[in-house]
């Protein structure tokens, strides 16, 4: 009995450690869960990227679900996800707003001309203040905001059609249900 314990105890300790380390192998420390989920979306009102006289704000789509996509021209992942964003825009399910952060206005406008514009409107946030308010730490990031103005989901990294269908559409269906 005593001998068995002497063997089992370290073996159990090793097993526990191994399980923790194994789980750790598949966790991406770059993905940090947003504390905003379930909370009211942070309010903002910024200049439109295309027209400084025009204001783009967080209550532009109040009362219905919408997407906020944080992007910049220096961000490689944003280029990767651009086709997926265009496809989502073509589905015409919900409006997508762009938040152009830490970027240059002329470069950003050129980007939209060259690659196409999936956004209903784009807020210009050159100093990243609104992005910080939303807890953004790397572009691209995409938020789904519900009809009640709460943040339903946040994607860190490039959007793909698979992610859109797997993570966003079910939430959208649940949100617009009875």
């Amino acid at each position: 009995m005593k001998g068995a314990l002497r063997f089992l105890l370290p073996a159990a300790a090793f097993l526990v450690l191994a399980v923790f380390l194994y789980i750790g192998l598949f966790q991406d420390p770059g993905r940090i869960e947003s504390p905003l989920i379930g909370k009211a979306a942070p309010a903002f009102s910024l200049e439109s990227l295309g027209d400084p006289a025009w204001k783009v704000g967080s209550d532009d789509f109040a009362g219905k679900p919408w997407l906020l996509n944080v992007w910049a021209t220096w961000c490689a992942g944003c280029r990767d996800e651009h086709d997926a964003l265009l496809a989502i825009a073509r589905e015409n399910r919900l409006p997508m707003m762009g938040l152009n952060s830490w970027d240059d206005r002329a470069l950003a406008l050129q980007w939209l001309t060259e690659l196409g514009n999936p956004y209903v409107s784009v807020a210009f946030d050159p100093e990243g203040r609104t992005a910080i308010d939303w807890g953004v730490y790397g572009a691209p990031e995409t938020f789904l905001i519900g009809a009640d103005g709460r943040v339903l989901h946040k994607l860190i990294g490039p959007m793909t059609p698979e992610i859109w269908q797997r993570d966003f559409l079910p939430l959208l269906a649940a949100g617009s249900g009875p």
Binding site: P29, G30, I32, E33, S34, P35, L36, W102, E127, G128, R129, I132, D133, W134, G135, Y137, G138
Partner: protein, 145 residues
């Protein structure tokens, strides 16, 4: 040789001048110290093993700006920390708060210490008992001659 030593001393002294933060210092040294403590405690989320004091990432310099502005607005340290955790979660703090998710993290050193002590006490008591009952048995490791 002496000149070389002087050069080395000057070079070492210049280290702190290479600070990442390029913003102006606070006029009040106490405020400056508060600022430095705060930015040492906040993690840069882009380069996760650096504090925002150590990192020259855009996000880190913007977060230093936020800390500076919140301090100038008269916010307390606790308010500034919660401003950060409201947006970025507990992960932004190098010293996470004690909560249901972090109790094991905080308690682990104490638990390990208690476990080690318990194991040591058990071993010592057992050896003492063995020694009392059969003094010769303690020599089992010795040369069997």
């Amino acid at each position: 040789m002496r000149r070389l030593a002087l050069l080395a001393a000057l070079w070492l002294a210049a280290g702190p001048a290479h600070a990442i933060d390029s913003g102006p210092a606070f006029a009040d040294p106490a405020q400056q110290e508060r600022y430095e403590v705060l930015i040492q405690e906040l993690r840069c989320l882009v380069c996760q093993n650096q504090s925002i004091a150590d990192s020259n990432a855009t996000l880190a310099s913007d977060l230093r700006r936020e800390v500076r502005e919140l301090m100038e607005a008269g916010r307390t340290d606790a308010e500034i920390r919660s401003y950060m955790t409201d947006r970025y979660g507990d992960f932004v703090l190098y010293r996470p708060p004690f909560s249901a998710r972090t109790w094991l993290l905080w308690a682990a050193p104490g638990l390990l210490l208690i476990g080690g002590l318990a194991a040591a006490i058990v071993v010592v008591l057992r050896r003492a008992r063995v020694a009392r009952n059969n003094p010769a048995s303690l020599d089992e490791d010795a040369d069997p001659s």
